[in-house]
Every structure is written in structure tokens, then in C-alpha cells.
């Protein structure tokens, strides 16, 4: 694809697929479960399952909500390559976050020595807030979703407030997840209204 017009057109079509609310809703779900892990303090191993659960849920979302309305399309190799690199970056940050949640849960259960816990504890909330905000902002930058920048700032504010007011990181995560879930649901409703489902989806025999 060599002309600017066609690239703009491709970009516009690609952006339509981002308006289904999946990103916000699934991030909200992920943070909701992460807050559950933090609050329960009993099953840190569950944190590792969150990304797998999200990937499975995203596949189902695209299959049952997005593709029957917009149709399936594979974009150019260069875009897919860029997307892959972006996905790896987000996964890496998400893995760091899951590792951090795991470590926090272990620290809370008293696995580490008191010295390690002493050094770790005062800044734990701030660091976690920073990582969560970073993930949300990274997704916003990659997907060009402006409102996610505000959600990132909101998440950081929740953690900072938690540090000073004394509420747990799980509550900060829960608040952020609620905001994301609400945005996701609103965008999903708008998407479904704007794009009615076409009968018989993408299945059609052109040689019939």
C-alpha cells in the first residue's frame, strides 16, 4: 500500500474494530480479578491465570460480538507485525504486574524475612499503582484510545490516595476496574447500536 489515502482508509477501518469496548471491559475484568486475589490473600497462584482467562474471553468477544457485525478482516503484514510487538510489550508489563501481585500476596502471608518485608512494604502501593497506570497508559498509546490515559491517571490517583488514606491496593484496583467496566459496557452498547448484526455472519457460499 503506497498512498497516504489508502493508509488513512486502512487505519480508519482498523480503528472501527477498537470501538467494541473489548479493551476496556477485559482490562476491567482483569483488574477486578486481580483485586480479588489481593483482597483474598489466599490464592496468589490465581493471578497467573488472569491473562489466560482474558485472552480466552477476548477471542469469544471478537467471535460473537465484533466479527458478526464488522466482518472478519486481516490487516497488512506491517500493521500485524507492529501490533505483535505492541502486544508483547503489554504482555511483558502485565507479567510484571502479575509477578508483583504474586509477590505482594506472598509478602502478606509472611513468606519473606522481616527485613525484606520492611523494605518492600512502604512503597508497595506506589509501585503497584505505577505499574497499573503504566499498563493502562501503554494500552492507550498502542490502541490510540484517549480516554484510557485518564483512566491510567485515575488508577495512579487511587493508589496514591490509598497510600495516604490507608485503604488497601485491592480497593484501588477495584475502583479502577469499575471505571473500566463501565466504560467498556457503554462502548459495547454504542457499538452494538451502531453496527447491527448481519444475518448469517461471515458465512456465505459465493459459488452457490
Amino acid at each position: 500500500m503506497e498512498t497516504k489515502d489508502l493508509l488513512t482508509l486502512e487505519s480508519k477501518i482498523y480503528q472501527e474494530y477498537e470501538k467494541d469496548g473489548a479493551v476496556e471491559f477485559l482490562m476491567g475484568m482483569g483488574l477486578f480479578f486481580a483485586s480479588g486475589v489481593l483482597e483474598s490473600r489466599g490464592s496468589p497462584a490465581f493471578a497467573g491465570l488472569i491473562p489466560i482467562f482474558i485472552i480466552m474471553f477476548k477471542k469469544a468477544w471478537k467471535k460473537y460480538i465484533t466479527y458478526p457485525r464488522l466482518g472478519y478482516a486481516r490487516f497488512s503484514e506491517s500493521r500485524m507485525l507492529r501490533r505483535k510487538r505492541e502486544k508483547h510489550t503489554i504482555l511483558l508489563v502485565a507479567a510484571a504486574c502479575v509477578a508483583f501481585i504474586f509477590l505482594s500476596a506472598l509478602a502478606a502471608s509472611g513468606t519473606f524475612s522481616s527485613e525484606v518485608q520492611g523494605a518492600f512494604k512502604p512503597y508497595a502501593r506506589m509501585v503497584m499503582g505505577g505499574i497499573i497506570a503504566l499498563i493502562i497508559i501503554a494500552v492507550a498509546a498502542v490502541r490510540r484510545i484517549t480516554h484510557l490515559y485518564y483512566v491510567g491517571a485515575f488508577a495512579l490517583a487511587c493508589f496514591v490516595l490509598g497510600h495516604f488514606l490507608g485503604f488497601s491496593p485491592g480497593i484501588a484496583l477495584l475502583l479502577t476496574s469499575f471505571v473500566l467496566l463501565i466504560i467498556g459496557i457503554i462502548r459495547l452498547i454504542r457499538f452494538v447500536r451502531a453496527n447491527p448484526k448481519l444475518e448469517d455472519g461471515g458465512v456465505h457460499d459465493v459459488n452457490a
Binding site: E10, I13, P68, L70, Y72, S76, G202, H204, V206, A208
Partner: protein, 105 residues
Amino acid sequence: MSTPDHPDFKSLADLDPVIHAPARLAIMTALYIVECSDFTFLLRHTGLTRGNLSSHIVKLEEAHYLEVEKTFVDRVPRTVLRLTKEGRTALEKYRKQMTQALNRM
């Protein structure tokens, strides 16, 4: 080389008739933008009816500009359409001819 006094209409007459039909041009352009797509994607972006779209796809397939691949995704059949190399080249040539012709008008 043509001048405004003597426009070159030959390039217009040489336009590929398979692509020149508006419906087929819409299909070709939509498929040129993406690597491949399904029937629903084309329905949405061309605004054609199912029957109309099917018949034009068959014509493009016969001209070897487009290939239709039938696959199963999670046991659900999916018809994936993509432009062939020949199809891409033909559309690029059409664009070039059309742009040149319009610039001379």
C-alpha cells in the same frame, strides 16, 4: 503525450472493464486495503446486497483477480476472500491509468 487541446482518450478506452464496474471496483479496493476478509466485511464496506456481491465476486474470481478460501474456524465455516497478485497489479494499473486520464481532463 496529450495536450489540453488534444486529450488522450485512448487510456480511458484501455481501462480494465472487469475492475471498471463500480461494484467490482468497491470490492477490489476494500480487499486491496486489507490482506483478506470475509463476506460480512465486504457487505458492510461495499453496501451491496448479498446476491449482487456474490455475482461480482464470482466474476472477479473468474478473472483470477480474487481467490476464495473456505475454511473452518471452531467448526464454523468461514469464507475468506483475498486479492491475487494479479488482482493487486491490475488494480494498481487501473488507478494509475485513471489518475492520468483524469489529470488530462
